[in-house]
Symmetry: C3
Subunit: 323 residues, 3 copies
């Protein structure tokens, strides 16, 4: 693996998943790969889960790491070419990424969308510049429109809770339902885009996306998934319910008027095939999902977050193998 | 040791002290225990000394660690059960602690009191939730009402400066005097509560607490100590003077009108048995204690702060032994 | 080496340079020295490059490290002796440095000038106190008036791009030109002072400093360098052009009215001996230097920044050798 920015960087998802399961079973067994290697983690936007799981992944591999919160240090980057930098921006991204990548062997980067101009976000301007300017492999810790380390952790989690075994076929596909859910703020589309991009390709998964009319995700990512607009119908027989809010793709970055009845409740979970409940966290309790789901046996949100370590460790592992 | 939240988690303080002295004499001798272990340090309130000494303690043990400043990252946690989280709080403590504890082998946590409702602080709501929700052992890096790593470092320091030797008896008890001292701000009671809780149990120590009338500490922690109200009388013959300000327990969280004459001065130190001066730091010079004490041979505040490494390393060591 | 605060702490710059080149060729070969050693990095002012390169240097040596942003944590230090600390300052520098140095084996410290009272900055009050109070060796990560780790990295870079070989003489001295350049903000004099202090001593370098009349650096540091006021004349035949803005030493801390024509351009670089362009970064593009220089073969700013790792690693190495 050269970089890890989207599902397209994965040559064989089955092999990657199997490697992750092996690494999880023996997390300290690959420390020769990480010896004297430094993982740089550069956050242009805040992070807790991604930061800590990436640090843990580096440590598990015997690598060291540094973390830089570019945002918190008020370090203002110039993105545009040709600017006369006599204003507020202090450093051009050309130097910033050139230098940061000189101080590490893998550069992980997080950026967020502005949710203003759709094309600007979907062109992934920042991330494409980072990839072009970095002298070392780049790993997305979430970009404007994708969050592949989350999706990979989700794949590991669905595999574990579906009885997946390498080199065995399922009798019947696993029904995974990603449902839109309410939220008080305007949120990025990165997590659901990425989830759709991954799970629509998994041959043992049957992916349904259920969303309010008018709030459809970008069709580029949902191709191959079944699209529904009736939440209760979609939940019928589901093995996995994956809840997430996202702002509108069509009316870009806007939120629907609160659709409170899209909250995931225990009554709705009863429609499923004793399904598991997943969410990438943080989650607004009793807005996105009710307490009685999160506090029940249905919920696997903590094991899901734990798998963030192993998705990241596997990606670092695959990149370090080639260095 | 399972958790370390108060003196009550210590089965045998003599054994713990002896282990600390051995570890201090050979600080890198226990690295098998720390190998591939991660210490997570979660600060809901700022810290310098505790953070750095805990990091050093982890390194000495061959463990790695991460530090998260929950406060600085403006990560607002919901503490109450059953809330509809459509306001400012972004994550419930249930998920936060569940996830954080998945990313480490020991979770150290610092919280401060609000100093508003006494019962709320003294019920240690936050800390009890952390302990209940964490999937790994929890170490207090100071809670609303206790600071046991400080008290344990203080015990190591008093032992060293009293000529303590394992398995030998003292001819005469060591006279330790904890004195209230002035301060311009309203401060927690965690350090003096904890000091009193520990030192009132040490069989070779004679503990006196001297405090202005009306500013008595919570009697739950001072049981067994001699209570005085006359500072000069209390200092007579003292081997150790431990100064600390605390806000009122009775008029909860309020400060006395400045009692400037409670400052520890060289003249007062002359009443002692050539006593040593201790303070947990940071200390307000010429408010809590005069320059001529801090800059004299009486002061052992730097060795005391240094022992924060070894109290913490010993606690991590005792917990890691059982993992 | 005991401390590293200025060029005066270097006994033999040739030997130090040769050690740096050896360490760069074999960066993980000295890990016995760093084992169980902790490098403390204390920033009273923001840093990105210095922080990350110092962390990488510590890791390369097999040492661990901690980083403390004293500024960001709003930790207000009292510098003056004898103060009654009943105001905003929370800890005296005596305790702060005493304690911090107890938690590490080498203490790196960054401070900035106030650019108000020249004597105050040039007396290096803060740094001298740090050196006096620290119980372990002190390394400057930039002080009010000097930045020796930058200058040492610059020396490594100039050596590499001049074909320097240990124990061989140059046929002809390398012409190094440090030029003042425009900038929208008032900047410290630490980088150019330090560059002048180092390069005026290097026997295979011919140092020219070119600066607008009235903006001369402190002559204490520029002794031995050729001083010019005509930028184009100075550039003739230069092997290295080193650009940097600095505020006035004479009208202390003030900036000149913008001297836009001092920007380094490709036309000016054509006057040089196919010279290399250096800058310590961050750099304001099209203010200090034009895009067509930075994006050309002339620019070696990224290799220069990369050498920050090796200058720092060499200094840590030389200090650790003596511990």
């Amino acid at each position: 693996m050269q970089n890890f920015i989207s599902f397209n960087d994965v040559k064989d998802y089955t092999q990657l998943l199997n490697t992750a399961l092996e690494i999880k079973a023996n997390p300290f067994g690959q420390q020769d790969l990480g010896k004297n290697k430094t993982i740089g983690l550069l956050f242009f936007n805040p992070s807790l889960r991604t930061r800590l799981s990436s640090v843990k992944a580096a440590y598990n591999l015997g690598a060291n790491c540094w973390v830089l919160n570019a945002g918190a240090d008020s370090w203002t980057l110039e993105m545009a070419d040709g600017t006369v930098m006599n204003g507020d921006t202090q450093e051009h991204i050309k130097e910033a990424i050139g230098v940061m990548s000189a101080y590490c062997d893998i550069l992980g980067v997080r950026t967020f969308p502005k949710l203003e101009e759709r094309d600007e976000d979907y062109n992934e301007l920042m991330f494409n510049k980072v990839r072009e300017l970095s002298s070392v492999p780049v790993v997305s810790l979430e970009s404007a429109t994708l969050h592949p380390l989350q999706s990979f952790a989700d794949l590991i989690t669905v595999a574990e809770y579906s009885g997946y075994k390498p080199h065995q076929n399922f009798d019947k596909k696993i029904k995974v339902v990603m449902t839109w859910a309410p939220h008080p703020r305007r949120l990025p589309q990165a997590v659901p885009n990425s989830f759709a991009q991954w799970f629509s390709k998994v041959d043992w998964v049957d992916l349904t996306i259920v969303q309010p009319k008018g709030n459809e995700l970008n069709p580029d990512f949902t191709e191959g998934a079944k699209i529904e607009f009736d939440q209760e119908k979609a939940f019928e027989g589901a093995d996995i319910v994956y809840a997430k809010n996202w702002s509108s793709y069509k009316n870009y970055g806007q939120t629907l008027t609160p659709e409170v009845d899209w909250q995931v409740t225990l009554d709705k979970m009863k429609l499923t095939n004793n399904g598991k409940f997943m969410h990438c966290l943080p989650v607004r309790r009793n807005v996105v999902v009710s307490d009685d789901v999160l506090d029940s046996e249905h919920s696997i949100v903590i094991p899901e977050a734990t798998n963030r370590i192993y998705s990241t460790q596997t990606v670092f592992h695959e990149i370090l193998k080639n260095l």
